[in-house]
Symmetry: D2
Subunit: 422 residues, 4 copies
């Protein structure tokens, strides 16, 4: 048993953290103000801010780029992994790095490690043809374009992915996409050029072989971004979540990833690491909220005492300290399990963290908001946006309850087996 | 013991509810869309929408106007109370009426029962000179103008009101206001013409006799609305919360309410009913969230079942049902206690509801959001805005923790007395 | 709306309270010591203590006897109701009286208001033949004998009463009982002479018409008390819970109550008031725990302060204060609903209190234990026994989860109906 | 980062587990029945059962003996450490072994790893003179005698150890002990021959130098075991907790450990590992409760389904699974921190686990009880005793709240420092 991160992991985490502290945090406030002013002037708040590209360039120059790319990949792009000079990072090694990125809503984008691009790049790496990789993976790895993932639909309960109503109908050499998607993260960004669309190809096939994943250029005339959505009042510029309709979007069948009917198989692999990354980042977000809470509650006084010393505040801070520590360990353990036993061996572990980490982060952030008073609710602190982000992750990539269901199924399986035999 | 509301209360509640269902709910969507579009065009989203005045006229014509005005008032305005034809309502009678208003964020404004106008009108009724009443109370009772309450400050922990740094310095016949206030609800509305400002007049006086309340016309050149604040991402148009600076705002001393140094005494009376009204409305808000949750969870299916029947959802819905019922009873009981024993006799009861009802509402709304999936986070349902409103009330008018402190103080008082004697 | 109890209710509650304070509490300690010593000497701890009969006599002489008997009964025994001189009490009037009894584990027995006798007496009152009433109801009303209710079985999940495996087979003029029951409260008491047994008579009948209730004299040779059970380590002398086997217990068919197959119908009526009574008493128990917590935490010091002032203790005490108040109101409201709309009209309300009041009591008592330190776990304070009692009631008469299910069913019914129509 | 236990740790844990499954669990039931029968006959339930010595012999023969002894000890007894053939175990290595022991209330005694003997042996190892070691440590290491720790007092809040009122007065060559102690674990056992007593020697010394620890033979005529205490109704035979008075117990000053006034220094070291051991064992206890819950809920049915599939049960089971996993990781991490940074470096970590693991265990066991219905409350399952044990540990060795206070202090220290400088 050894809880210390590897030397390389520790080093990367420290460099990422230093970059965030010195470069990204100051930029965040500038960008936020610009977006707010653009909004106030009725201008499009979505164009990427020039500071973003500038910071991306700096990060890349320091080797802090594409660090999400997993160890063990053998393909033609392996050489681009671990741009700090090594190969790709194990999940356990990436965890402390991603945690630092989670402190800032902007940081993942700067390091080219943001969802949904990371998941999309992994799909293309693993399942893309050389042509698909050249067209889309290359520029994504370079950060020249961004991408979206078109899965969730407004018309059905998308927690059950088999409910999906969109279609990807094969017509000769072509595949025709129709449907309405929402919570398509990233489509608000003008650099977002491609989406991975999921739809029903063969409704007669078995439950998990009906759907296909299709690469869809977002400038196709049949693709329409209907509106950008707010989540608890936040639009999350410059990434954002959109509602998108696809009407008779005709594409070559070669745009299908890995062939028709394989969407569930791909999604399974795609969402696993994504869930782990989200949880890693939420640890950092919660940690930052706790830091703010500690700072505020020791520097403001009421009734003659620092706020920290009033009522149950110290207990709440201590419980937050413990909750984050427990959650971090659970995330690290899940990452290690993924590394040592693969996706199938870590099925319960991944659902365990997805079921508790977002809720933990919500609780810690909410406590921090309460200690900040009205300021915590306002845009003056990153807490309101952090809450919105953490709260969204209790739904995104499967609601808490679905993940608890997975954990229960795996837990009870041997008992149910035994009971059915007797 | 009789839990049935009075005939008059039941009748008013039913009429208010019908008005909301048929008139206000349809208007809400229209107004929300208009505000969003104005925002999108970079126009000022704050001007009052013409539908508001129209609905106010209808409500007033039906006697559904100023129903918050309390029974037992003897002054010259008593004749305008109970515009349904009777006298003012008791708190217990008002509770079911206010609950219905709480279902909609717009409704209180339509019935001229919205904070902070209600509290300000009560202050003017109780403490205003005839001149003050003629100038400000008259138009407020008519809904011709709106008002603000300038108390909370960004620079200090305002949960302890004695922290306040703004000043109301007396200089001969004049009082000079200086300071920075925020979370001044209502200042975004162009009809908002007057504020009640609280500031230090005599820093040498005893702790609760230092501050004065002063009527300040918001068009005074020294008053500047610095910005509108968002709360968890919501600006709460058309009311809104602002940050306001007052710089050498010189006013006649006759603008001081009830004389210098009496602000705490007035605030005590002002905030009591306000807290109760907030809690009454939150019951209605939570009830509406539960209705939405029930509807959504019985009409959407996942994994072959209505969502309501998955996992622990039925238990969560049942717990929400019970939590609302318990909270409603606690609010009704507090209202009855206020009616029968007055503010001092209901001190613990008012803090009890303020300490638990907003949290209860947050919990119920959060559960409803979760059952709605992504839709619950979006602007398509009133849940995100409801959450923001309920969450704000865990801070506004005293954070939960301060109210728990009051409850504990009253609970422990006899024991501490006894312990100190032995 | 009027939250004040009636004059009669207030008077009875005050007299019951005074009797408990002056007579019962001192006796409790004497009896507890005697039981402990008997146990220590290896003697039977179950014989009723002479103090019990003495106190019962005093209580009866003061009219504090059988107060549980419900208003509105018209039968031959109605004259014995309301032994304070009036008729039976409404549920709303009984609530504050029962609450006081709940402060002491012994008090209900002293006032002849203890479970399961109360429920059994109500069954006999409502469904008993004159012969059954003469034989069993008379002496129960007089407190000359006690009774048991034989329903729960060790072999099946008894939360689903249709699981029951015991049989009450009709054989000509006789009914033959077989089965194993447990948690049969009261059988440890030597005065316990009769049980109401529930078993399957016709396995082919419809689900709720299979079972019968049969009066079984406990001295029948086929009845065997196998052992007394502890609940969280407590035997709850002098009442106690037993495991009982019935082997070919042959009785006249006239021992069946209301005729074969009517057990569920009777149980429904029997358990309703029982549940409400339990909840009323738990309010008193929680209130007493809170009093002890306040007393202890203001009289002991640690780290230089009264314990009450350490960490989050004041908040915990305040939350307990609020939780009890909310629970009491919910119980009172359910009682009032039972009075005004009958059992069917109060179905949700009764399940609501049963689902939350025992848990609330557990939480308050647990908090009180924690504030007492080790003493709270010991027999020196009534808290450990109180916890055991409250915890048992999260299972007895239907586990929390079953009651939450009832609440959800009633809540969702109209929505499910509407959904099924569309 | 490596979450896998060492080979040796895994091997020992497996052997301990096998021993428990095959030898101890069957014996537990036999012993429990014997104790119950002795009690029922009024005989002393406390004499050690012959099976205990027999099992101890077997365990020792297999090298499963004194495994708690820490790595790194250099003294004359080091050779007896790690009786599996190696040296003492690191905390991280001991954790999985202790977890297995925690599954059974009897197991720690069988492996000579039970509290308070382990802590007492560590004190003697570290601070004992060769004479003290020969007299008391030798037979303790052999399991020939048992020991007690006399610290907590009934008269004061012992969460603040400086409250202690007992005295250890030096009178020439002698030390005279007076005082009343309780929750002295182990004194009920007839093999318990020695206690470590803590009392005030010099009331004028600085706060943490007033107290001494003194070895007191329990057969001294001035030592009187007043009674055995129950904790939530459980006496925890064959160990048990007693109330003990010491009246003018005169002993040679050589019985003082490490010299007068050093009690706090010793206690600090003594309680640290004890707290970690308790937490390690609670993980195993919670795990066993979860296993029982899974088994029961898949083999009993109600309303046509296995209980596991009703309402929120699967979610509760999943949450228990996650809670145990998080707690285990926190315990392992604290053990590793102790190993790598010593007691001072792991101060927060040890308090973190002590603050959350007992509560977690209570919650899991309570859930398991609820799924078992009445059976869970009874003596037929180990759950009621497990609950009592886990609940006691929310108080023993410092209540949760005190440990949260330590965590908060360490967390806030740098912020408070910074705040005080500005």
């Amino acid at each position: 048993m050894d809880f210390a991160p590897s030397e390389r992991s520790r080093d990367l985490a420290a460099r990422v953290r230093a970059f965030i502290d010195t470069e990204i945090e100051p930029a965040e406030q500038v960008i936020a103000t610009d977006v707010a002013e653009r909004r106030a002037r009725g201008e499009d708040p979505w164009p990427a801010h020039p500071l973003v590209a500038e910071l991306q360039g700096k990060a890349r120059a320091q080797g802090l780029w594409n660090l999400f790319l997993p160890a063990g990949h053998e393909g033609p792009y392996a050489a681009r992994f671990g741009t700090d000079g090594g190969t790709g990072l194990s999940n356990a090694d990436y965890a402390p790095v991603a945690e630092e990125m989670g402190r800032s809503s902007l940081a993942p984008l700067i390091f080219n490690c943001n969802a949904p691009d990371t998941g999309n790049m992994e799909v293309l790496l693993k399942y893309g043809t050389p042509e698909q990789q050249a067209e889309w993976l290359e520029p994504l790895l370079d950060g020249r374009i961004r991408s979206a993932f078109l899965m969730t639909e407004p018309g059905v309960a998308s927690s059950d992915a088999t409910n999906m109503e969109s279609t990807a109908t094969i017509d000769g050499d072509e595949v025709v996409l129709n449907g309405r998607k929402w919570w398509s993260t990233g489509v608000g960004n003008p650099d977002c050029k491609v989406g991975i669309f999921m739809g029903v190809t063969d409704p007669e096939a078995s439950r998990h072989s009906r759907h296909s994943m299709v690469l869809v250029p977002l400038d196709h005339p049949g693709v329409r971004i209907e509106r950008m959505l707010s989540a608890l009042g936040h639009y999350d510029e410059p990434i954002g979540h959109g509602e998108v309709t696809l009407t008779d979007v005709r594409l070559p069948v070669t745009n299908i990833i890995a062939g028709p009917g394989r969407a569930f198989e791909i999604a399974q692999g795609r969402l696993g690491p994504g869930r782990v990354h989200h949880c890693m980042r939420l640890i950092g977000l919660a940690e930052r909220a706790l830091e703010l809470a500690c700072e505020r509650s020791t520097t403001r006084t009421a009734f003659g005492k620092p706020i920290a010393n009033l009522g149950g505040n110290r207990e709440r801070l201590a419980k937050a300290r413990i909750a984050i520590n427990q959650a971090r360990l659970l995330v690290h353990h899940a990452a290690w399990k993924l590394d040592t036993e693969g996706s199938l061996g870590a099925l319960s572990e991944v659902s365990e963290i997805k079921a508790v980490v977002p809720q933990m982060a919500c609780d810690v952030i909410d406590m921090a908001i309460q200690l900040h008073g009205g300021a915590g609710m306002s845009e003056d602190f990153p807490l309101a946006a952090a809450y919105s982000g953490a709260r969204s992750l209790r739904l995104a990539d499967g609601p808490d309850e679905v993940h608890l269901g997975v954990v229960a199924r795996i837990l009870l399986h041997p008992y149910a087996e035994k009971a059915s035999r007797s």
